[in-house]
Subunit: 168 residues, 2 copies
Amino acid sequence: MSDPTPGLNAEQLGAYFALMEVSSLLQYAVDEHLRADGDLSYVQFQILARLVDAPDGRLRMTDLADGVVYSRSGLTYQAGLLDRRGLITRAPSPDDERSVIVSVTDAGRELVARVLPGHVDRVRQLLFEPMKGRDLPVLSAVLGRVRDHMRANPPRSAKPRAGRGRAG
Amino acid sequence: MSDPTPGLNAEQLGAYFALMEVSSLLQYAVDEHLRADGDLSYVQFQILARLVDAPDGRLRMTDLADGVVYSRSGLTYQAGLLDRRGLITRAPSPDDERSVIVSVTDAGRELVARVLPGHVDRVRQLLFEPMKGRDLPVLSAVLGRVRDHMRANPPRSAKPRAGRGRAG
DNA sequence: GGTGCACGCTTTGAGTTCGAAGCAAGTAGA
DNA sequence: TCTACTTGCTTCGAACTCAAAGCGTGCACC
């Protein structure tokens, strides 16, 4: 607000465009590979990967949603697909009858194990190969700081657990 | 393939996740603002912005598509929406009857001018405020290098056509 | 025990994206 | 000229996402 610069300088603008293009191309390439290699979308892979990484391979739907999709219904849809393929199972939580606990099956673990090497390889080829090692620490630090800042200032409608409807 | 490291180390993995999360949150936030402020999606804004930036405010459909969407049909759809709102016009090219030349209208220019300050402001707040100036040159350089590398090694299905090295 | 609200998930409808197929216009070779 | 191939865009169908609405459960307070 009180910033004297009304817009962004050329370097900032370039960094902004480059960021969006890089992430877009990366996601597209990775998604393409996952579909070809394991018939998984990027979102489905993220879901499975989170579960594999979780203790006991189990997570509540809500916890699973954070960071993967921006709506609960989107997760329900994807979980339905994964369930039908036998990659996950869903069961009501014994602690809270409302919650649904999602668990990876052995087939799900195997699929993740099968596609993970190629996935990682793709990321390394596209993202880290053109980047010299000395840049990585800076990039890592900057992105981490930006991410924390964004999490602290979330978009208006993203996480207000309290107010269901938007004030709009 | 010839790289001895089979996977990614912790720092690389963290940078990868941070990159995807930052770009996702940024796009979500910017998209939300554009919708609220000008009833535009991010894609629609990109289309208009490219046209405003082009000489005479005119571009062929194909040239317009690069970097905005991954399919021609997606652009046709969005161009239809923008056309209906009077923000662009479409006319067959006099040089090549197959081509469609898209032009921004005055209304389109006005709309871009109206939403641009808020858009830029959002980006500055979210992306550049948590980043101290000393990091920007490195980030800019790294992302630029990665982007060029990705453009040189495009995803399998993205560029079946001949070379499309768009400059700019 | 009841009542009212908050929470967790699913269902539904509208909108957006992609790839494949289709159509029209240009181009090269005979 | 005719034919076959390429290019530029649109149409179509399927898949996916989101927000809103709906349903059942849990909790706070009386």
